[in-house]
């Protein structure tokens, strides 16, 4: 079970492939089961690279959570999906000051 991810060319934001293009929320990513579906997803991603929408494409392994949303198997991809596991900037400073 895989989803297709990339970074958006213009701002680097992590994005996921859906039937209607790229979104930044992993929950909406199209979950691809069959080999030909994954191949078609990667072909769509290759077109998006050529159209200068995204860079750094990868098909990544996922499982489904209780809401049937994809969750990456690898920690690296979970961090890409949900952001750093540590707070930063003013949020970190306020936590420390409290």
């Amino acid at each position: 079970m895989k989803i297709i991810t990339a970074n958006r060319l213009s701002d680097g934001v992590v994005v996921y492939l859906t039937a209607n293009g790229w979104v930044s929320h992993i929950a909406s990513a199209s979950v691809l089961h069959a080999a030909d579906a994954i191949e078609a997803g990667l072909a769509a991603a290759a077109r998006a690279i050529a159209n200068r929408e995204v860079i750094d494409v990868a098909a990544i392994d996922v499982t489904l959570n209780e809401s049937n949303h994809p969750v990456p198997v690898r920690l690296r991809e979970r961090i890409r999906a949900y952001g750093p596991t540590v707070d930063y900037g003013e949020a970190a400073r306020q936590r420390l000051a409290a």
């Binding site: 680097g12 992590v14 198997v73 930063y88």
Partner: protein
């Protein structure tokens, strides 16, 4: 402080224009990613896990209040309100949009800053001792020579596409605060018997996958020959360096495989050929650069400050901060202040936009408009009158910048690790956070004394784990984060690569393991004066192994 001349200004402005054009061509499809990537890397732009990352150079770690304020402005305007100082005296912004980067570079250029030589296979910006120009033990100001090397290397066509990146560090004193022996070239300023200034030259040090301590290639190099000799080393490297294998391309591998004696012959032969040519540095040129780094007009003060002593007696936290974060200055009545960016439980090396701006103000008010970034990821105020220390401390405290732990176990170096870095195997920051919380909770920090923990999220070793007294390396073991611990590393004039103590630890276990190592040290040291490193050198790994693995 060094100011741009006309040439520098035009050069940087031209680079910004060129990059603006390259970004536009990338966005409208004229350049593919394969074509664009090396160009963006030449301008400090990486792609990390969540976004692009822009690495801005802070040459030899020195900057003015105006420049520091600009970093705050960029963090606030173009990023998520903070920046991260690195072990190479640079700052990284973790969230800029590619489309904004030309504007950011234009803003940086307005205060004589840029991102050149922060990435790519070139001579990277030269790092130095963060106490340069103010340390009591200094022979000469290393920034003068760092600037000479910058001017020579920035546009050098021969050295823009080296086999790999190339790092040079310079220390101004026999006590090495710049980790020179783990650099491709390490320079230690010294005087010969005749009182002339020059360098001991080390070559082939480095960390990463194959850590190596640099070898002494020349015991005394006269200062006038600095560029000729460096060029000779680079030429020999460029000729013989392994371009066929990324992992074998650093000069340390060449030194290791060829042997320093053989390589010295080649370097010296090339040096003899070019030393009297255009690369010979006239005394007047060195003096001209030296004048840019002339010390500010320090106040004429007695060395003893009543005001400081009274404040130390009245406030224990202030007293502790002075004991740990304040160092001796060359000028009587003055001090060097380390502002720790390692609050207990905080991400090491980060500063918010507001903190950057406040530091800019404090640098202007209390430190003759000068600030430094240390490779230990802290900010230095190099010229503070001792009388001003109580007021400075209060101002820092109001901004959560008064952590009194410089040089102690909580002053941890950590790379961004898997929370940000595309190359990482494991997280570094949460480990650093939990360690500093642990030692705060046990109340052992002061008792432990001088102990440096350094953490890297992968074998590239940006967190300098190989030279940590306790080094921690994040590895990926079947999809799980694991941490390998090394002991006995050191990055000063007695540089040593840490030795692996045994099998690694899970993320849950690693803090407890470091706790056991520290307790073992406290139990076996002969006195409070025997530091962790001294004790480790005396007893070796065995007692620590026993404590960890039984």
């Amino acid at each position: 402080m060094y100011r741009y001349d006309e040439f520098d200004r035009e050069f940087v402005a031209a680079r910004v224009d060129q990059f603006r054009d390259q970004v536009a061509r990338r966005l409208d499809g004229e350049l593919s990613e394969d074509e664009f990537k090396p160009l963006r890397l030449m301008n400090g732009v990486y792609l990390q896990l969540h976004a692009y990352m822009l690495r801005v150079a802070i040459p030899y770690g020195t900057l003015s209040g105006r420049q520091m304020r600009m970093l705050g402005h960029i963090a606030r305007t173009y990023d998520r309100g903070y920046g991260h100082f690195t072990t190479r005296q640079n700052i990284q912004f973790n969230w800029p949009r590619l489309t904004d980067i030309p504007a950011i570079l234009t803003e940086l250029a307005s205060v004589e800053m840029h991102a050149i030589q922060t990435s790519g296979n070139c001579i990277r910006n030269v790092t130095t001792d963060h106490f340069a120009g103010v340390a009591r033990d200094e022979i000469a100001d290393p920034r003068v020579y760092a600037e000479i090397l910058r001017q020579w290397s920035s546009l050098h066509p021969e050295f823009t596409f080296l086999p790999r990146k190339f790092k040079i560090a310079i220390t101004g004193a026999a006590h090495d605060r710049a980790a020179i022996q783990v650099h491709d070239i390490g320079l230690q300023l010294k005087r010969n018997d005749k009182g002339e200034t020059g360098f001991a030259v080390y070559v082939g040090g480095g960390q990463g996958r194959t850590p190596m301590i640099a070898k002494l290639v020349r015991d005394f190099l006269p200062e006038q020959d600095l560029i000729a000799y460096t060029e000779a080393i680079l030429r020999v490297y460029n000729l013989y360096g392994r371009r066929d294998n990324k992992y074998k391309a650093r000069i340390k591998i060449l030194v290791h495989e060829t042997g320093i004696d053989e390589l010295r012959k080649d370097i010296e032969a090339e040096f003899e050929r070019i030393r009297d040519g255009v690369l010979h540095l006239p005394k007047a040129d060195i003096e001209a650069i030296d004048s840019y780094f002339a010390p500010p007009q320090w106040r004429d003060l007695p060395d003893h400050s009543e005001k400081l002593e009274a404040a130390r007696k009245a406030d224990r936290a202030f007293d502790r901060w002075v004991a740990n974060n304040v160092d001796e200055h060359r000028a009587p009545g003055h001090a060097i202040v380390t502002v720790s960016l390692k609050p207990v439980g905080g991400p090491p090396g980060d500063a918010t936009a507001r903190q950057l701006e406040v530091l800019a103000d404090l640098g202007e008010r209390y430190s003759h408009d000068e600030l430094r970034i240390s490779h230990e990821q802290n900010v230095i105020l190099p010229h503070v009158a001792k009388d001003d220390l109580p007021a400075l401390y209060e101002a820092l405290k109001a901004e959560d910048l008064a952590t009194g732990n410089a040089g102690l176990i909580g002053d941890i170096i950590a790379c961004p690790g898997l929370d940000y870095c595309a190359l990482a195997n494991a997280r570094s920051i949460p480990v650093a956070q939990r360690l500093s919380e642990h030692f705060e909770a046990t109340g052992q920090e002061q008792e432990i004394g001088d102990l440096k923990i350094k953490i890297s999220g992968c074998i590239n070793a940006c967190g300098h784990h190989h030279v940590g007294h306790i080094g921690i390396l994040g590895v990926d073991r079947k999809g799980e984060e694991f941490y390998q611990i090394t002991l006995g590393g050191s990055a000063d004039e007695h540089t040593a690569i840490g030795e692996i103590v045994g099998p690694g630890f899970s993320a849950d276990e690693v803090v407890g393991a470091v706790g056991k190592i520290v307790d073992t040290y406290l139990g076996l040291r002969q006195s409070r004066e025997e530091t962790f490193l001294d004790a480790w050198r005396r007893v070796g790994q065995q007692p620590f192994k026993e404590a960890l693995y039984g």
